[in-house]
């Protein structure tokens, strides 16, 4: 069983949803980024998503755009991110790691080589934002060959007719986008989440994590109980950004504050009773 499947199965047995955290690799520098990543499991993150910086992140809002720019300034490259995962894996054996990014840097590295090296480094899944099911054959064979899950986004715009196609091209878990929009710019409408997730569950047995627009522990707890997990990204990136000095460098507060926020989110999720399964 993959780390992702094992983790969601274990949490289901525990009766709670997963906290999926997103942070951009090398934000604001490699050492701080590694320190935060290494601290995430202890702070309560159940799945770690790492953003691979790209110059043109079309689906991201201003916070994650800036995180990517900081990462690139700090020297983030595809090999650099894989190396970061390798170092994280040296001490963290069980928590699933998912890389989220855009296709061009992976393409430049070579898709087959990327999938092989990512799997070897300890990556469990990929979210390639700009490769929809229509273009899946670009990356699916190599991802499959190396045991990498291809996690896909389901958007509110994904209609019933299209749903089977997207689900059919997804493994690991479903990333349900709770808003129409780019990351971090709107808050999810929780009243509409439960029926949407219920509709989705009629079509799939895969775990569903809700993301885009979850900021507070309360929102995370609701999302993690309505579905199988909550993804928090922009809120963490904003906290990180607020600790940086005027030149955008890490301070003594950077890692502790991000990890403290993760602890708060995790406690709220653990405290929440899971909705009748």
């Amino acid at each position: 069983m993959s780390r992702i499947a094992a983790r969601f199965a274990a949490l289901k047995a525990e009766g709670r949803g997963a906290l999926v955290t997103f942070l951009t690799g090398f934000d604001p520098d490699r050492a701080t980024s590694l320190r935060i990543l290494q601290g995430l499991p202890g702070a309560g993150a159940d799945v770690i998503e790492i953003g691979v910086p790209f110059t043109d992140p079309m689906a991201d809002g201003p916070s994650i755009q800036k995180a990517g720019q900081r990462g690139l300034r700090a020297g983030a490259t595809v090999p650099g991110i894989l190396d970061l995962v390798r170092e994280l894996r040296a001490t963290e054996k069980d928590t699933p790691v998912v890389l989220m990014g855009y296709y061009n840097p992976m393409l430049a590295y070579g898709v087959a080589r990327f999938c092989a090296d990512a799997a070897a480094a300890g990556v469990d899944g990929l979210i390639v934002v700009d490769v929809p099911p229509e273009e899946a054959d670009e990356i699916e064979p190599d991802a499959r060959a190396h045991g990498l899950d291809l996690i896909r986004l389901i958007a509110p715009t994904t209609d019933e007719a299209r749903l089977p196609r997207v689900l059919g091209a997804t493994t690991g878990f479903i990333y349900y986008v709770s808003i129409t929009g780019i990351t971090g710019t709107r808050s999810a409408d929780y009243a509409s989440l439960a029926p949407a997730i219920a509709a989705l569950k009629r079509h799939t047995d895969l775990p569903v994590a809700i993301g885009f627009g979850i900021r507070s522990p309360e929102q995370a707890a609701i999302a993690a109980s309505v579905a199988d997990g909550a993804v928090v990204g922009t809120a963490l990136v904003d906290t990180l950004a607020a600790t940086l000095d005027a030149e955008g460098r890490a301070t003594a507060d950077t890692a502790p504050k991000v990890l403290a926020q993760v602890r708060g989110l995790s406690q709220a999720i653990r405290a929440a009773k899971k909705a009748a399964a």
């Binding site: 790209f54 992140p57 061009n104």
Partner: protein
């Protein structure tokens, strides 16, 4: 229209939106259903006689088509002065700078805004570099009573003030984009972000033959009116087809519009002129085909300016309209199969051509076609006098006089 031959170069794209390996639909899932909706609507519009008739009516009575084919006699004579005896090809201009709004952009914009209306969309967004596409979109939206938001890199807002003001006069909202290098690619990112957030009521009017399928095909089809007219006009004027077509290539919409109807005419050579900026061997140019390599950006696989790690690098050109690190996917394909030759013209060569055209022909060209003209200036003297060159004069230079004045050290 002729039916495409089995070996025709005019059959692309395939069902996946590919021209060879280029093109496709590389967008986030949030956009995918909408891309499919646009494709479906466009496929229906192609065979909708009422839609086509309305578009043609607007082209005739609002845009002023057909645009003239002009024999640039003085320029031809001027270029023959320094040529060997018997040399110096005839130079013709396809005068799309005479269109309403001053460039070819309006051809595809009117088609797209009609399509948006047909789709029931009530809000239009666009990106713009030089401002020509933004002005054209703002114009069509004023005509058809639709709110219009134009994303424009802050750097371009600065260097294209006249067009920014034009868009405002036309009732559009211009939103300066400060991310990245604050030029055309960043404006396109912002346009895509807006669209993702407002899919229910918004149509994204893309200005060039790039973006996810069906945009490269759709914009090309609308712009092909340029080449269709030019073909007929040349046959009427000279009784034969031209020997070579020359057009500037940024994203490549004016070039595709001119080239497409001639692609199966094997004796017609084609030259796409990319912005070589400060030189193709410097880092400051916008020559995606000459100096880039294939990658994926803005929804399609195409040649891109990028570093070894797949990060997109900044383009440079004196012309805001060519300042883009990618190029339409059909151009990438035509480049790889060798049907079109892609060459470069530097900032300085374009500036010289800009001035020469103004004095020899009494036509102030935009800086974009000035790049095409720079290649004509190199090419014409090397060819016999009975050869015919047809260049797409795709925009007028009113918007560029401030930029040019600054480069010439003059204050206006």
């Amino acid at each position: 229209m002729n039916k495409p031959l089995p070996n025709s170069l005019r059959q692309g794209p395939d069902a996946r939106g590919r021209f060879g390996e280029f093109g496709g639909r590389f967008v986030a899932e949030t956009l995918m259903p909408l891309i499919l909706e646009v494709e479906k609507a466009y496929e229906a519009a192609k065979t909708d006689a009422a839609f086509q008739a309305e578009w043609r009516r607007l082209l005739t009575h609002y845009v002023g088509r057909p645009s003239p084919l002009w024999f640039a006699e003085r320029l031809t004579a001027h270029l023959r002065k320094n040529a060997a005896p018997g040399m110096g090809a005839k130079v013709y201009f396809k005068r799309d700078e005479l269109n309403h709004t001053g460039a070819h952009k309006i051809n595809a914009v009117l088609g797209q805004i009609l399509l948006a209306k047909k789709m029931g969309k009530t809000r239009i967004i666009a990106e713009t570099g030089a401002g020509q596409h933004g002005v054209a979109t703002a114009t069509a939206c004023a005509l058809m009573d639709l709110p219009c938001i134009v994303y424009m890199g802050a750097t371009d807002v600065e260097r294209q003030q006249p067009n920014v003001f034009r868009m405002k006069l036309l009732g559009a909202e211009v939103r300066p984009v400060t991310s990245g290098a604050a030029t055309l690619k960043d404006a396109m990112n912002e346009g895509l972000r807006d669209w993702v957030a407002n899919v229910h009521d918004t149509y994204y009017c893309i200005g060039t033959v790039a973006g996810p399928h069906p945009y490269p095909q759709m914009v090309r089809d609308f712009q092909s009116v340029i080449g269709e007219e030019a073909r007929e006009q040349m046959l009427a004027a000279e009784g034969r087809l031209p020997d070579a077509l020359i057009a500037a290539v940024g994203g490549g919409s004016n070039a595709m519009g001119l080239f497409f109807p001639f692609l199966d005419d094997k004796d017609v050579q084609m030259f796409g002129v990319e912005a070589a900026g400060r030189g193709l061997d410097t880092h400051e140019h916008a020559a995606a085909l000459s100096r880039g390599r294939p990658g994926v950006l803005h929804g399609n696989r195409t040649y891109l300016l990028q570093d070894g790690d797949g990060q997109i690098t900044e383009a440079h050109s004196i012309s805001a309209g060519l300042d883009y690190p990618g190029v339409g996917p059909e151009h990438s394909w035509l480049h790889e199969i060798g049907r079109v030759q892609y060459v470069g013209a530097t900032d300085d060569e374009a500036l010289a051509a800009f001035q020469l055209c103004s004095r020899q022909e009494g036509i102030i060209p935009a800086l974009e076609p000035a790049h095409a003209l720079a290649h004509v200036i190199k090419m014409a003297p090397t060819l016999p006098q009975d050869r015919i060159l047809l260049m797409n004069l795709c925009g007028r230079g009113d918007k560029d006089i401030f930029t040019v004045a600054r480069h010439l050290g003059e204050t206006i």
